[in-house]
């Protein structure tokens, strides 16, 4: 459950005690961005881009039952977080491989839909987070903070239209699922996964390993 952090005294000792007592909340973080919607706002009216944004958000969220996992929407970008505790309790798609496959399938459906006038293509970054806390500084809001959330945002800079960037940490989780299901490592969208890339992101003290899957 989210912990609301709000202390008026900037030198409060209690805030330190409270923050130290909050445990990490491991889970999967997604950033999803809808492409070209800014261009569209200059080229067409609200009825056009508003409709396509509505359709695309629906296809990404409701068709995958992610609607309760959305934390923030900023314009055409969304941040979602699926805590492990919640993932393992789901009736369906209760594993990392399932999350990845369904995101891939959504991007595939959008890209290959026979009617190209209803959706907008997307780009995605996915990271498995361990350094993350379910806290908020704003009343009645749910949020997650931590260095792994920031890293997911950094990974997003490596994504382009119709591409999923997956951190090596998340990929390892997916591979563990495949071992559990007795499936080969090239199952589904993983047949097209890239070799490992290594990047030094600004502000991140260690190198980050990631791979990409193009839809």
């Amino acid at each position: 459950m989210v912990r609301y952090v709000h202390y008026k005294d900037p030198c409060s000792e209690e805030i330190t005690r409270v923050l130290e007592s909050i445990p990490p909340c491991p889970g999967t973080c997604f950033f999803m961005d809808i492409n070209r919607s800014t261009d569209m706002k200059y080229l067409g009216g609200l009825k056009d881009w508003g409709r396509k944004l509505n359709n695309t958000f629906n296809a990404l969220l409701f068709a995958n039952h992610f609607e309760k996992n959305i934390l923030k929407g900023l314009g055409d970008e969304m941040m979602l977080f699926v805590p492990d505790e919640e993932l393992f309790g789901k009736e369906a798609n209760n594993h990392y491989f399932g999350l990845l496959e369904d995101i891939y399938a959504s991007l595939f459906l959008i890209k290959n839909h026979p009617n190209q006038d209803i959706f907008l293509n997307c780009k995605v970054a996915i990271h498995y987070c361990t350094e993350v806390y379910n806290i908020t500084f704003f009343e009645n809001a749910n949020d997650y903070y931590g260095s792994d959330i920031d890293l997911t945002a950094r990974l997003m800079t490596k994504s382009i239209e119709n591409r999923i960037v997956v951190s090596e940490k998340f990929y390892t989780k997916v591979k563990n699922d495949l071992i559990t299901f007795n499936l080969p490592f090239n199952t589904g969208c993983l047949s097209g996964i890239s070799e490992k890339f290594i990047e030094n992101f600004k502000g991140v003290p260690t190198s980050t390993e990631f791979r990409v899957i193009d839809v």
Binding site: E101, I103, Y104, L109, P114
Partner: protein
């Protein structure tokens, strides 16, 4: 998920029973692609006992539709439960697939 197959003089009927998701969509994919490759291009997918579909399942249906359309065949769905119909609607599938309420109605179009 289970698949059952039935051949009539009009078409092949594939019935999906249970949940079509990331762990089993490849079974449906293999079966449909095998049928299409064997020129069985008049296919009815019976969904009345399919109680869950994920995007991965939808992807296979779209791929099958595209392949059969190119082969000038017919790919029809029937018997979608309400929750499944909603997912089809959100995904823009109700406008591209021929969907009938039940098998009896669907068979009339072949």
């Amino acid at each position: 998920m289970e698949l059952t197959l039935q051949k009539t003089d009009k078409c092949s009927i594939v019935s999906i029973i249970g949940r079509l998701d990331t762990t089993n969509y490849s079974i449906l994919e293999k079966k449909l692609m095998e049928m299409i490759d064997n020129r069985e291009d008049r296919i009815l997918v019976e969904c009345s006992k399919m109680d869950y579909v994920s995007s991965s399942g939808l992807r296979i249906l779209l791929m099958a539709l595209k392949k059969i359309t190119m082969a000038k065949g017919k790919f029809v769905l029937c018997g979608l439960q309400d929750n499944i119909h909603e997912i089809f609607e959100i995904s823009g599938f109700t406008n591209i697939f021929e969907i009938h309420s039940d098998q009896e109605e669907a068979l009339k179009v072949f």
